[in-house]
């Protein structure tokens, strides 16, 4: 349907978009390799000094720990909440379902800065001191709906007869849920887990207002970009990007392995 020239045209266009997309990250990586305190291109002297500084800095490892704690807890909460919510979203018909589906989308269609500030006021009204733990709440409000949607996509294609068969054979609803539904949604649960972790890891707008005296890694990076730049900042930025890429690669390999296994064991599907 599409001719060769069209295909080349579309391919070139997509290639250009990808190049532009990764240009800023390339710039960050380049800046981190420069020996000079102030970045200027072309780089005269390359060094990996900033990376060793970043790894050995106690302050930076503390920001990393805080970010990791927030991301890990957010992932756990989002997965548990999202698993059940996705079944309510896509699998079972019930009276308030339509309204529920709209409610789930609202936090995603909302400017994060305003949500962060609203939560800040809400916590102060409740008398809760903001810390990395309140940031977990903020992240979960935004990420649990995303996890729900990711799991819901697979829950839509769930074969109801499998659950029914399990019920007919005498399993309780809870047993069916644990032994049939949960494994069947395994792939999307894994995807949703990785997404949750990565989105929390990179989040800035919500953390900015809800971490209180603690500071997550993106916040610290931002404050140092504005004042006190040194190549350490892009070095830490690059490391944080590489960490995220590593998690994403694990996800990709898992999905590939799953689809290959699926093809060999169930060719009819």
């Amino acid at each position: 349907m599409t001719s060769r020239t069209q295909k080349i045209g579309f391919g070139a266009f997509a290639g250009v978009v990808l190049l532009v997309f990764y240009f800023p990250l390339l710039s960050v990586a380049l800046a981190s390799l420069s020996k000079k305190r102030y970045f200027s291109f072309p780089i005269e002297n390359y060094t990996l000094k900033w990376y060793s500084d970043a790894i050995h800095s106690a302050a930076i490892s503390e920001y990393v720990t805080i970010s990791l704690k927030i991301a890990a807890l957010t992932t756990i909460f989002s997965l548990v909440i999202g698993f059940f919510a996705a079944l309510a979203y896509a699998r079972y018909p019930w009276r308030g379902r339509k309204s529920f589906q709209r409610l789930v989308l609202l936090p995603l269609f909302f400017p994060q800065t305003v949500l962060g500030l609203a939560l800040l006021m809400w916590f102060s009204f409740l008398g809760v001191t903001t810390s990395w733990m309140t940031a977990v709440v903020a992240h979960t409000v935004w990420i649990a709906p995303i996890a729900t949607l990711i799991i819901a996509i697979q829950a839509y294609s769930l074969d109801p007869s499998l659950e029914e068969a399990s019920r007919d054979l005498g399993a309780t609803r809870w047993q069916t849920l644990r032994m049939v539904t949960l494994p069947l949604l395994g792939q999307s649960l894994f995807s949703a887990g990785c997404f949750s972790f990565l989105l929390s890891w990179g989040n800035f707008a919500l953390s900015l207002f809800t971490t209180g005296a603690d500071s997550a890694l993106p916040e610290w990076l931002y404050s140092r970009m504005v004042v006190g730049y040194q190549p350490l900042i892009p070095a830490v930025g690059t490391l944080s990007v590489l960490g995220a890429v590593a998690v994403a690669l694990v996800l990709l390999l898992f999905l590939q392995w799953r689809s290959r296994r699926h093809k060999t064991t169930a060719p009819a599907a």
Partner: protein, 325 residues
């Protein structure tokens, strides 16, 4: 295919048909399960459909962490200036202050930048989404992964990358310099803010568009071509109307997020443009005037909420998600 409407369900007109022995079953033949699971099983068996039960944790989180804070903001916007308590005498003074001062300028800037970003993204993303949905297979996966990956990198790192790339003596300036070409940095101006917004919100336009375009059946397009329709006519009368849910939801998403954006104008635009979100942040942090910040937030929430409400009423995002399977 919609797997939700089971014949047995529609036939009885009730969501889930309950086996009469169900309520007793968890107590009779389920010795291996613990106390909590037995309680849960009993509750689930009692309710007609587990839907509401399963949805309740998320509903609770959203009520406590989303709906309540928003009400808190709206209520706070009626509090007297510079108070930190919610129990003052309600007043409209924040709103008279907002409409009496030059905040409308920030609001217009934000709305204008949002509209421009959405328009540019439609032009860039439609052909790209078409290529990813209809033309390529393996290459499409590659591009999709590439764009998804960028979502996991902090927005401020990516914007900072543009600063390093575009500044005087940065990557592009330095390259041109070695070639002996002059270079005027586009940083700290309106154009580069638009670039930043387009860059950051591209995935939010692209992915709904891909889902929308996947909904256009190939046979319909082929039939139109066979009947002699021109490429433009197929685009206008088949592609666009049939992928409309994707177009509308992508546009709404990018517009709403771009109107509430702050980092692009701050990092790339210097002090050239102050967006409404930046005004809100200033009111909350430097000015320590929470009621004023709440008033501005309420205004923004009102605008965003109206757009989202009107769009979601006409276009159901479920069509995009459900049709994928």
């Amino acid at each position: 295919m919609n797997t939700l409407d089971l014949p047995s369900i529609t036939a009885t007109g009730r969501p889930i048909v309950i086996d009469p022995t169900d309520a007793a079953r968890p107590y009779l033949d389920d010795r291996r399960d613990g106390c909590v699971s037995r309680w849960l099983a009993h509750r689930l068996a009692k309710s007609a459909s587990p839907g509401l039960w399963y949805a309740s944790p998320l509903i609770l989180v959203l009520l406590v962490g989303f709906v309540a804070p928003l009400f808190c903001v709206v209520w706070f916007s009626f509090m007297p200036e510079r108070t930190f308590s919610l129990f003052g005498t309600p007043t409209f003074s924040n709103y008279t202050q907002i409409f009496g001062q030059t905040y409308y300028r920030s609001l217009f800037w934000s709305l204008g930048l949002g509209a421009l970003t959405t328009a540019i993204l439609l032009v860039i993303c439609y052909p790209l989404a078409f290529a990813l949905a209809k033309v390529f297979k393996r290459f499409a996966t590659f591009v999709t992964i590439g764009i998804t990956l960028s979502l996991f990198v902090s927005e401020n790192i990516r914007l900072f990358g543009w600063v390093l790339g575009l500044m005087k003596g940065g990557v592009i300036g330095g390259l041109l310099g070695t070639l002996g070409l002059p270079y005027a940095s586009p940083l700290y101006d309106v154009g580069v803010i638009v670039l930043g917004l387009v860059y950051v919100y591209l995935p939010f336009m692209l992915f709904p568009l891909i889902l929308g375009i996947q909904m256009v059946p190939d046979q319909v397009r082929e039939a139109a071509f066979d009947l002699g329709a021109s490429r433009w006519r197929v685009f206008r009368e088949i592609d666009v109307p049939l992928s409309m849910p994707g177009i509308v939801i992508g546009s709404m998403l990018t517009f709403v997020l771009a109107v509430g954006a702050m980092a692009e104008a701050k990092i790339l635009g210097g002090q050239k443009v102050v967006t409404i979100a930046a005004e809100i942040e200033t009111a909350f942090t430097y000015a320590q005037n929470w009621p004023l910040g709440s008033g501005l937030s309420t205004l923004l929430i009102g605008i965003v909420g109206t757009i989202v409400f009107l769009t979601l009423r006409k276009f159901d995002p479920e069509t995009l998600l459900g049709n994928k399977s």
